[in-house]
């Protein structure tokens, strides 16, 4: 018996059925992720990246194959696979504090006292530098701050894997860079296992230990996995002129735009 990987996608296949039409989105996706690894999924729109993440998150059920987390089959959503959603998904009627407390109270209601839960909420707010805005409502803070709260909410659940679905997609470039730095810092401190979806080649190379590149759908699968052997902590300024960084970046670009170009119908 081989050693059990921390997180394993085993022959994942997914088709959506609508009446007589069945669309095969994913076929034979195999992936192993170790504890503490930061893995990015990159691919063109519609290649099934989000579907794969949602299967891991338990929001979708794969048609074939299974996901194993620490040897256990994943078959429903849960706080051990907390998700940072693309559009932050904060509840607008709760304050920043309340949005995290609703998760903390539910997940740790049985194990932590009220005071401990309060401290834990504040700790996670401080982690994303949002403690000063705890009493604001989501519509009163900027897009980048909302996403910080979304990240804090997910971190507060102490997930075994942190799932991020294009977490910075809706942000402007400067805010995005700030948040990427924050995520790197948090990853360095907490050592979480992270699976992130992105469209952004630089983001993938900068943040990840491995970049998983998906082929185009239908029936998309993993085309190539690129290990990023850049020492941490990584600094974006130094990397701009780094040869290894440039090589990794070129490899991803080459995969996306030379070998797996978007089909003409999609581009039109």
């Amino acid at each position: 018996m081989t050693t059990q990987p921390y997180l394993k996608f085993d022959q994942i296949g997914m088709s959506f059925r609508r009446g007589q039409m069945a669309t095969e989105v994913l076929r034979d996706v195999d992936l192993r992720i170790e504890r503490g690894e930061f893995v990015s999924l990159i691919g063109h729109s519609g290649c099934g990246k989000s579907t794969l993440l949602n299967i891991l998150g338990g929001l979708l059920k794969s048609t074939s194959g299974e996901v194993f987390l620490e040897g256990k089959v994943v078959d429903e959503p849960g706080p051990d696979r907390a998700i940072v959603f693309q559009n932050h998904s904060l509840l607008p009627w709760l304050t920043v504090y309340g949005n995290i407390a609703i998760a903390v109270d539910k997940v740790f209601g049985g194990t932590k006292s009220k005071a401990e839960r309060h401290d834990w909420v504040m700790h996670n707010l401080e982690l994303v530098q949002m403690a000063q805005a705890k009493d604001k409502r989501p519509h009163e803070v900027s897009g980048g701050m909302k996403q910080r709260v979304g990240i804090a909410r997910a971190l507060a659940m102490q997930p075994k894997v942190l799932l991020m679905d294009e977490p910075f997609g809706a942000l402007d470039a400067l805010t995005r860079a700030h948040l990427q730095d924050s995520v790197m810092e948090i990853h360095a401190r907490l050592g979480n296992t992270v699976m992130m979806i992105t469209h952004d080649v630089d983001e993938a190379v900068l943040l990840s230990d491995r970049v998983v590149m998906m082929t185009n759908g239908p029936a998309a699968t993993i085309g190539e996995i690129l290990p990023i052997n850049l020492p941490r902590p990584r600094r974006r300024l130094e990397l701009a002129t780094d040869a290894e960084y440039a090589r990794c970046r070129a490899a991803v670009l080459e995969f996306l735009y030379a070998r797996h170009r978007v089909p003409a119908r999609a581009a039109a």
Binding site: G57, F85, W93, V107, R137, M157
Partner: protein
């Protein structure tokens, strides 16, 4: 003057030089204080604002009264002019609290009785309507089964229910309550169910990830997310129930502003009818504003999205 400027300049150079090794130098915080304006000026501004809000309706109202007065002043006019209305109905206007026994009561008692009926019937409709609306919004099968029936029943005019409810309840009062209930419940159900159906999938995903129970989803996600829709329904509902009660009271008799109008008609007190109409309009307007205000406070934050 020049020396002072020079001194500041050199001080600045020194501080910049000092600041170089320190990466984080914070800027000086300058607080901007608006100059305190004289009280008179502020009072003028408030007065100007009030005038701009109050004056236009006042002008239109006086014009209307004037035209009405002109049209109805000639001898043989069928409706009384405003001056005659006030003169005829002065007893009714001046003392809203008189009680001569029976149904001969002042405006306050008549309106309170009607409002009491609305309060009961409308509260029942709100509770049942929100519950049914959530059910219809959440369950596809409940929607398929119930929605067509709701869509047909909601078009039935309030008074068409009255004979049926009189037959069922055998008493005037519960029948009136039922008419209010059945009139105001449809917009509450329909708006609530639309609200529940429009809850973003994101919120449901969040609830799924943190594993909220059915009940927690209901009161932590569904209700707060639906509040603006619910209050739209309640607002329409309270307006309809006020329409319905006046009509229903005309038929069932007893104390109440609706029957007061009917009674006035039977004894040819046209002026009393006109005053009662004004009262009904004002009360309806206040009811609407009341629900809107409560809704504004309760849905604070949600509607800001």
């Amino acid at each position: 003057m020049q020396a002072a400027a020079k001194a500041t300049l050199s001080a600045a150079t020194v501080s910049v030089a000092n600041a170089v090794p320190v990466p984080e130098s914070s800027a000086e915080i300058v607080t901007f204080r608006p100059p305190v304006r004289p009280a008179l000026e502020r009072a003028m501004e408030i007065a100007r604002h009030v005038v701009s809000v109050v004056l236009p309706p006042l002008i239109v109202l006086s014009l209307t009264l004037f035209v009405w007065q002109l049209l109805c002043s000639e001898p043989g006019a069928r409706l009384p002019p405003p001056t005659k209305v006030v003169a005829d109905a002065w007893d009714f206007i001046a003392d809203p609290f008189y009680d001569n026994g029976g149904i001969d009561k002042g405006a306050f008692w008549q309106i309170s009785k009607s409002l009491g009926r609305v309060a009961i019937g409308f509260s029942l409709a709100a509770v049942v309507g929100i519950a049914l609306g959530v059910l219809v919004g959440q369950s596809t099968w409940a929607m398929r089964g119930l929605d067509p029936i709701f869509q047909v029943l909601r078009t039935v005019p309030p008074l068409a229910w009255l004979p049926l409810s009189l037959a069922g309840f055998r008493h005037a009062d519960p029948s009136a309550l039922f008419v209010i209930f059945i009139t105001s419940i449809w917009p509450i159900i329909i708006n609530t169910s639309v609200g529940v159906r429009n809850i973003p999938q994101d919120y449901r995903n969040v609830a799924a990830v943190i594993r909220l129970s059915w009940w927690e989803v209901f009161y932590k996600i569904t209700l707060p997310a639906t509040v603006p829709y619910i209050f739209t329904g309640l607002r329409i509902g309270v307006g309809l129930s006020w329409l319905a009660i006046v009509a229903a009271e005309m038929l069932i008799g007893g104390v109440g502003i609706g029957f007061f109008i009917w009674d006035a008609w039977n004894s040819s007190r046209i002026s009393d009818i006109i005053v009662a109409l004004v009262y009904i309009g004002i009360v309806g307007f206040l009811l609407d504003k009341l629900i809107a205000t409560v809704g504004h406070f309760v849905s604070h934050g949600v509607s800001a999205q």
